[in-house]
């Protein structure tokens, strides 16, 4: 709690902003290269042009996983060190993760409609992804309803750590069902066609950079909100004592 009223977070804001600006410049350049490589990528002989959704759908999934893992790391560090900056990282990771997860669940059904003929199937991967989305949406709702309370931050930290248990299950569920799942198998070495590896790599790198930019920005906003909240509290306390 003591850290919540510390002025030492001002340099943290400056550092986050500096990192964000640097990442922003790199992200802009990467997105241009990515767009060109997707446009230039070969058309799949079986699926046709719709297969190009491959270059955005899995990278969004990896971004969602990363956001939720950062929520767990931030939560665990908060429980260990009791410093608000880690709790703020956890919130930022969850929000950016939910954005990426939502977009994964939008691009997936679009791809499904074009290949399977229907938007959704209660396939194990899709069902677990929906569950994962609900788990972290609930995390954000919990945080928004009870803003700034240390007890909530501790509860959310435990919740965020436990939530990550769904990630390996979500990833490996297709292997567990051994070919009975409708969702295609996880990508492995050599599973992409000729000329598809580079745009896929570019998609992962560009969307990882986009993720990093959004995370740093969201983290900075969370730190700034906490700074303003403590200044308001100090003003109210000063007014009351004066």
């Amino acid at each position: 709690m003591q850290d919540r009223v510390s002025a030492s977070r001002v340099p943290v804001v400056t550092r986050l902003a500096a990192w964000r600006r640097g990442v922003g410049l790199v992200t802009g350049a990467l997105l241009v290269v990515y767009a060109w490589l997707v446009f230039d990528a070969p058309v799949d002989r079986v699926q046709g042009v719709i297969q190009k959704i491959l270059y955005v759908h899995p990278p969004l999934a990896y971004g969602a996983y990363l956001g939720f893992i950062l929520t767990a790391i931030g939560g665990a560090l908060y429980l260990w060190r009791n410093q608000a900056i880690y709790d703020q990282l956890a919130v930022a990771g969850a929000e950016v993760g939910v954005i990426f997860c939502t977009l994964m669940m939008v691009t997936g059904p679009i791809w499904a409609k074009g290949t399977w003929g229907h938007w959704w199937s209660w396939d194990p991967r899709l069902t677990l992804t929906l569950l994962l989305w609900f788990v972290y949406l609930s995390y954000l709702l919990l945080r928004s309803f009870t803003e700034g309370r240390e007890r909530t931050a501790r509860f959310a930290a435990v919740y965020g750590v436990l939530g990550t248990l769904l990630i390996p299950l979500n990833y490996f569920v297709i292997d567990l069902f051994q070919g009975r799942a409708m969702h295609p198998e996880n990508l492995s070495s050599g599973s992409l066609g000729t000329g598809m590896g580079l745009p896929f790599l570019a998609g992962n790198v560009a969307l990882f950079a986009t993720f990093a930019y959004a995370l740093l920005l969201r983290w900075e906003v969370e730190v700034r909100r906490a700074l303003w909240a403590e200044r308001d509290a100090q003003m109210i306390a000063g007014g009351a004592s004066g």
Partner: protein, 32 residues
């Protein structure tokens, strides 16, 4: 082709919109 445009279009608009919203919030907190 329309499915591909929809997938990339929705992703781009959503991510740009989210980042712009965060930048506006950051500026507001900076100006206050």
């Amino acid at each position: 082709m329309s499915y591909v445009i929809a997938a990339y279009g929705i992703t781009a608009v959503a991510l740009i919109g989210y980042v712009l919203m965060l930048q506006r919030e950051r500026s507001r907190l900076d100006d206050d």
